[in-house]
Symmetry: C2
Subunit: 225 residues, 2 copies
Amino acid sequence: MADGVRVLKVKQSVLANNDKRAEEFRAELKEKGIFMINLMSSPGSGKTTLLVNLINRLKKDLRIGVMEADMDASVDAETILSKTGARVIQLNTSGECHLDAKMTSEGFHGLDAQGLDLVILENIGNLVCPAEFDTGAAMNLVLLSVPEGDDKPLKYPLMFRRGDAFVFTKMDARVVFDFDVDKAKERILRLNPNAVFFPVSAKLDEGVDALAEYLLARVREYKEK
Amino acid sequence: MADGVRVLKVKQSVLANNDKRAEEFRAELKEKGIFMINLMSSPGSGKTTLLVNLINRLKKDLRIGVMEADMDASVDAETILSKTGARVIQLNTSGECHLDAKMTSEGFHGLDAQGLDLVILENIGNLVCPAEFDTGAAMNLVLLSVPEGDDKPLKYPLMFRRGDAFVFTKMDARVVFDFDVDKAKERILRLNPNAVFFPVSAKLDEGVDALAEYLLARVREYKEK
């Protein structure tokens, strides 16, 4: 493991208490002026790559911390640390397929979030379970990669209902995959009329600026209120 | 919904009883001479596309039934029916992220499996939960698509431990994605020394014959014993 990556084992709370716990944690974050993003997607949709690109764009304006959730690995935390220098903690869920509010809040307190403006939770790669648990985040950011297909909102509706903003990743892969952006948007909007969309290609460095600007505006708006 | 697709709602049993239930169901399948495959992967790894190609290759030699699991859609069952004519049932898990032995056995009894040689369960697209539940299948077939990346065995070890055979899908996408087949194999073999591998491209129609032959041999061997 790289130096400086802390690994914390986090345990699930009782599901019934999760909503209450999430509200309390959200209030604590608000009090401290820290905007939290819950980043969710399938495995391999490009969460970590996008995160590296976003942090390197935002770090001149915001002090950023990252919580990397994995079942029992720490490769992502090491990547974030080495490529961005952001404050990072690895959360191990011991096989659980999601983070709940208790686990997230424990991770947050392990991160030493003093003075941060933005904390990003990279949730477990999964389109099912993470959607069922409010983590206390101010925003759910959901990624859908071009190779996964534009039909995923039909098959995993809860995730697409729970998202606030959606990023279509690996847009450069449309040279080999059929992915109808309009169809994907329409399917998500049917579940979630307030959804906003950001098509990006980390490889071609396209679209990430627009997403970074949007997030910066959201963080500033949150801190001013 | 297309004509002829039956949709069944299946409910989870208590986890502690699952292993016993799975063994009983496996014995029932053996008694009936029906080989069952549990097909697992991330969302959008190409399970349904591979299934269509496999069935169309195997249907001259084997009588095949399919159980399509989804949280609340039935698009995959319709695709299988219209593109292969195979006997198919749609299992809806009402939000559950996996199939257990009870749900699978209920699905099987709903399928009318009389006279079948091979039943394929297309599990929920998820690299986490489905790995935790023995369905009673004779074989776990796990797909990993090139766009997901060769690091997935490091991050979702249980799934790669539980697989018997592994299919690397969307091999044609290596023109846009780095995916080191040797590295992926090595990572899986470290978890699972008996793993066998099939790189395929459904788009270029490459590698599916080898997989179909392997499965046919496994079904015949099972029925002879």
